[in-house]
Amino acid sequence: MTVIDHDAGPRTSARHGTVGTSPPRPDGDAKAQGSFAFSSDLSADGCLWGATLRSPYPSARIVSIDLSVAFKIAGVESVITADDVPGEAYYGLISRDQPVFASDVVRYVGEPIAAVAADHPETCRRALAAIVVEYEELEPLLDPEQAIDGSHHDIHPDGNVIRHQRIACGDIERTGSVVVEGTYEIGMQDQAFLGLEAALAIPDPDGKGVELHVATQWLHEDRGQLAACLALPEESVRLVLGGVGGAFGAREDISLQVHTCLLALRLGRPVRFAYSRTESFLGHVHRHPATIWMRHHADADGQIVKIESRMVFDGGAYASTSAAVLINAVTHAQGPYRCANAVVDGYAVRTNSVPCGAMRGFGVVQACFAHESQMDKLADACGLNAVEIRLRNAMRTGDRLITGQPVLNVAPVERCIRDTAALPLPTEPIGGNLTANGGVDPMKLPGGAGRTADRGDIVRGIGWGVAIKNLMYSEGFDDYATARCQLADGVATLKFATAEVGQGFVTIAAQIARTILGIDDVRLDQIDTQIGSAGSTSASRQTWMSGGAVDLACRTVREAMFVDVGRAHDIDPLRLVIDGTDIVDESSGWRMSVAEANAGLAYDETVEYRHPPTVELDESGQGDCHTAFAFVAHRAVVDIDPELGLVKVVQVATAQDVGRALNPLSVIGQIEGGIAQGLGLAVMEEIIQVDGAIRNGNFTDYLLPTFLDMPEVIATLIEEPDPRAPLGAKGVGEPPCVSSTPAIVAAIRDALRSVDGVGKPLARVPVRPADICL
């Protein structure tokens, strides 16, 4: 049974459905009934199916493409290639370097070359098989170091280095009396959302516009890229959020959007695409595999005096968000610890691997595995334990990052560590409680239902991970969110383009409106591009950004209502406040329900919320490039079978800096879900590529944590409202998956060390059985 512990605070008296309570999701009933329409459930009269032809080679020149046979198959309506893209031939999130269809060369296994539209998915498959592409294979660039040292020719006109960023901070010649170093590797992780990529495009009758229903994280960014490729004005490309079955970063880039719209516009008929799981592995970006060398210098008492690091992130064939992922990694190299001196060198490079980009944690996951592994080495070298070394270096509000940026947010690192340490350790003995009849419960053993582990061989370990994670967008990006609030006759209607991907923004948006306006009836308009951008559902930013926009829109409406009510009742509007569902003049005691006061009145306000501007890093990696930060600590307990290399995570305890829990149940859901993904990266999840081709692009071979893999999670929410956050609330989505991974790996190391007093370095995630037992 999971224990949830958080400051009860004043919310105990909060009206149900307002901020601080946990009302159910507005889409919950439909999702439970199976009637919620995911993008893969959408169709239209006369709808055709689309499908994509993809490259079998990591690097090859396209000599010729012969579509003639495919066109002759009964039921095939269209076959398109790069020649059929009317506008921009390239798209991309930061730089438009990725072709809609490869035309001259292919740069990764899975790159789109052509698309077909036909009457049935099976017809599409036959059409794809009938397209004849002649290739001339080229030597692929698969080693990121070759991209850096220049020993391989450029595989893209933009070059093989997507971004190089150096950070030099303080006295870079400084040394410490204690020095520890290591080289760490992070494997390629898949977001593995369950709701596969799918979209439905409906062309306008005049052929001059299109409506696309799609599962995405950022409708307006998609629209901008789409309109350019389609050679249409943006207002002629209307996007509607199709039900999103999870995202985790994988829906930030364009996948099937352009192909779907191109075919629909060409044919004048609705077209739908739906990827299979195997195609999904090829069709979206993944978490960057990375190699990180780090050296920590410290005083004898464990105070960090300098860190050095070299980071190499393999971005795959196209840039996507690699440049931003790299910046997150290098600027988080120190972790949540004070450090005055640093030299960091980071590279995001291009190879002929499948492209990498956003995934929950966005560069910080990789950096954190390295710095937390280093902290344990430092603790050993200084004769301290894992908690002491971290407390001794814990960052506080006002401390500076190695970029020179002061951390102005609430920074309760010490409290995260202490509150996590105070959570109870598992009561179950090593190997789990025996069953009622005194037998071993195999489900409690490493290896579980495999029933290979012997309870007597199991050893237990405890490990720690602590993290800092930036929130919102960085480096000068004009980051804003738009929201509209209408209030009429006691009913509020909210509209925003914020992608609801499962995280629950739709729930808290209504909570915010109920709190600010004092009404209970809040309705949500369709999520689409008929309002300004909300920015992306990523970077743990929507509670802060779209939450801030909804808050501001509701406050603007409330102030207008106060003016009208004040005039009607001869009260200075400045004296009016909302108390529950009433408007109150606190000095006279006059009160009236909002619904009554609002009768016959109507308000309609659309606002944009912006966070303070940030700047780009300079050549030395200095500058206030980030917006805000959140912190978290994790303590993992694992049981392992050292001979078989099997791991059972027994418990993860965590204290997370959430600012203010607007919906505590949703926060717990984010924490538990994030820890599950961190666990996956720690012990089981990795996309395996051989010669540039994914070998395990399916759920039989790509392992995801199941009910049996997830341990109990004990969570404490640290609620110190952040004065810089519009609602005091920090984003909570990413921190859980940042330091849970190193905590679990540290626990495995701890268990192994108890066996022979030495242990193993386990410098690579995911940790594989052979890493433990061989």
């Binding site: 439970a32 329409a37 369950l194 999870g246 149940l665 859901g669 538990e672 997830m710």
Partner: protein, 166 residues
């Protein structure tokens, strides 16, 4: 494909549905979704690994992506639509919504089908039993904690109400 098609009937959610345009060997998942419009059944892996497409066929909880539709002729099939009472929610559905067991919701229909099956067979499952029984249903959002809590809540409510009935 027409030359390979066959007409057969399936007993779904208490109703006999004729399948006229299916091709031989088509999966139950595809027939339920694409031929019969039962879109509550979700497909996410097509390998029987994730459980999103779980339905009851006779007494068995099965991944409909692994079952040929034609092989289910004569067996009563129950999907999430059949578990949903008219204009309301089953006890499992209601508690899933209240307990925070749903985020993106893609795994939810298959999972709720599996939980109904589990609680029909084991009235008060242990934590270990819940985990083992539901291990065939993957959820990528929740980390399972709130789902386990929901299952336990339903079990307690059912036990309480049957106590009350006695």
């Amino acid at each position: 494909m027409n030359s390979d098609s066959e007409v057969f009937s399936l007993h779904i959610n208490g109703v006999v549905r004729e399948v006229t345009d299916s091709w031989l060997g088509e999966s139950l998942l595809d027939v339920l979704r694409d031929r019969l419009g039962l879109l509550g059944v979700k497909g996410a892996c097509e390998q029987g690994e994730c459980g999103s497409c779980s339905v009851m066929v006779g007494d068995s909880l099965l991944c409909s992506c692994l079952v040929m539709a034609a092989s289910a002729v004569g067996e009563p099939i129950v999907t999430i639509e059949g578990l949903t009472p008219e204009e309301t929610l089953s006890d499992v559905q209601a508690v899933f919504v209240e307990a925070g067991a749903i985020q993106c919701g893609f795994c939810t229909p298959g999972l709720i089908t599996a939980v109904h099956d589990l609680l029909d067979r084991i009235a008060i499952p242990t934590d270990s039993e819940i985990r083992e029984e539901l291990a065939g249903n993957v959820c990528r959002c929740t980390g399972y904690g709130r789902i386990i809590d929901a299952v336990q809540q339903v079990a307690v409510r059912r036990a309480d109400s049957s106590d009350g009935a006695l």
